[in-house]
């Protein structure tokens, strides 16, 4: 393991020298959103409501995509989906 930096080597006041993109906060989740494609109208409500910006509209495929590296499984998308196309399942179920 490499030596950790001393107080003399780091920037002052806690300025971040690394981007938080490297922290895979998706590891934290208990529940995973599962989408029923037949019920989804692609209204993008879930895209707007996701607090982690982990649901994105991909113009290339003309559909939404879940980024499970950052989805914490909070269930807000399932709660706000007007057609109840998203359900939360325990991982591995």
């Amino acid at each position: 393991m490499s030596r950790e930096k001393s107080w003399k080597e780091i920037s002052i006041a806690g300025v971040c020298s690394k981007s938080s993109v490297g922290f895979m906060t998706g590891d934290w989740k208990t529940y995973t959103p599962i989408r029923d494609v037949a019920k989804c109208t692609k209204c993008l409500t879930c895209v707007m409501f996701c607090p982690e910006a982990a649901i994105k509209w991909s113009p290339d495929i003309g559909d939404i995509e879940f980024d499970f590296n950052f989805c914490k499984g909070c269930g807000i998308c399932a709660n706000d989906c007007p057609t109840k196309a998203i359900t939360m399942k325990i991982e591995g179920e």
Partner: protein, 410 residues
């Protein structure tokens, strides 16, 4: 040595002297809330703004907590920031004082020292800023209106130094200094601007891998004030302590540099010794009381008593070496505190002074005097009695009471 700058003599009280110094330092943002006895600073400065005499963004806030928050945020953009407060106002800032020092923002604040409630009292003592001892702010205390003016100008240069990068309090005794009209020598605007210069910025490494000036800038985004876990929080606190150590040197440097332009200096900037060279009895004191004590020392010297004064100008960082050196001939001394640390062993300045002298070659006898709380007057006649107490101790070798309350109705 540079040539002295020609100065004008004007009549100002301490608060007005502070406001004028801030005006001359070309401050970008002032966010403040008025409170007695600091009010005149804010009033006077808002007049400057209203008259178009300064380009400062003046933010009227709804509380001191907001004032300090606004100062922190403004300072984060890399500009020069000032505020002023006292007593309950300073206490309300408490949380943000730590955030500001931890964020390494060199905000300069004048504190017109005043007692804390309860019971309500608007008069002068030093309980307010002494209670902020551990908030990570540099603290200096002045003796008169002239020093208030000089110290504000110096404060920007000290606090903003990249090796220091810490906020700074300039304490002036409420009413005794803040509201008393004095003769003050003032620089022309241009001389102050040149002395203080632009605010320098330390360099930081950002998440983009760039080394850039430490300020909020859309071109070089950075995260300030993040959550830091146990793995690195301690390291940032150690950095702040290094800033304090650097301030010890910087305060002395700026004191010397300023003397070359103004002809005025305050000891070495840290401690201001008066007739201490061969003194056997002495008083250590903070703030305006030193002025009165100097008169008494002169009287005692005429009577053949080897008495002296040490005015502690810089309280944070605490100048251990300089204090020990200045007091090396003293055998018996009193430390006067214009604040009370309830349940402690004597006043705060007493505790720290005594601590610093524990390792002195000859350890002097030291007694604590709590005095002047809530603006209780301390006249020359009264203060002389403290020296008489010390003379008594030197004769008998006995210290009957180590912690004393001076001027209290017993």
């Amino acid at each position: 040595m540079e040539k002295l700058v020609k100065q004008a003599i004007v009549a100002l009280n301490g608060d007005e002297a502070v406001a004028l110094a801030v005006k001359q330092c070309d401050v970008d943002v002032v966010a403040a809330y008025p409170i007695t006895p600091q009010t005149i600073i804010v009033e006077k400065y808002s007049e400057y703004v209203a008259n178009g005499e300064v380009q400062t963004e003046f933010v009227c806030t709804e509380s001191e907590h907001s004032a300090m928050t606004a100062c922190l945020a403004a300072s984060a953009t890399g500009v020069r920031v000032f505020t002023a407060s006292a007593s309950a106002g300073l206490a309300l800032m408490h949380e943000m004082l730590f955030v500001t020092s931890g964020s390494r923002m060199p905000v300069v604040m004048a504190v017109a020292n005043r007692a804390l409630s309860s019971p309500l009292n608007i008069h002068g003592d030093q309980s307010d800023s002494m209670a902020e001892r551990d908030s990570g702010w540099i603290q200096i205390y002045v003796e008169n209106a002239q020093e208030a003016y000089d110290s504000i100008i110096q404060a920007f240069k000290i606090a903003e130094d990249v090796g220091v990068s810490l906020p700074m309090i300039v304490g002036l005794d409420g009413f005794t200094i803040s509201h008393t009209l004095e003769k003050v020598e003032v620089f022309p605007q241009e001389a102050v601007k040149q002395f203080v210069g632009e605010r320098p910025l330390p360099s930081v490494l950002t998440h983009e891998g760039k080394t850039v000036p430490f300020k909020l800038d859309p071109k070089n985004p950075m995260t300030m004030g993040p959550n830091v876990s146990p793995n690195f929080y301690f390291e940032f606190k150690r950095q702040q302590e290094e800033g304090m150590k650097n301030a010890l040197k910087k305060i002395q440097e700026v004191n010397t540099e300023y003397a070359a332009l103004s002809g005025r200096s305050y000891g070495d900037g840290l401690v201001d010794a008066y007739r201490l060279d061969d003194a056997e009895i002495a008083i250590v004191v903070v703030g305006s009381t030193a002025g009165t004590l100097k008169v008494i020392v002169d009287q005692l010297r005429q009577e053949g008593v080897q008495a002296g004064i040490l005015r502690l100008r810089t309280f944070r960082p605490f100048p251990v070496e300089e204090l020990r050196n200045a007091l090396k001939s003293v055998k018996i001394m009193a430390v006067m505190d214009k604040s009370i640390s309830f349940g402690g062993f004597g006043g705060t300045v007493f505790t720290e002074t005594r601590n610093a002298l524990y390792d002195a070659k000859i350890r002097p006898t030291i007694v604590s005097y709590i005095f002047g709380l809530g603006g209780r007057d301390s006249s020359p006649h009264d203060l002389r009695k403290i020296f008489e107490d010390l003379i008594q101790i030197s004769k008998t070798g006995q210290v009957e009471t180590q912690v004393r309350y001076y001027g209290l109705k017993e």
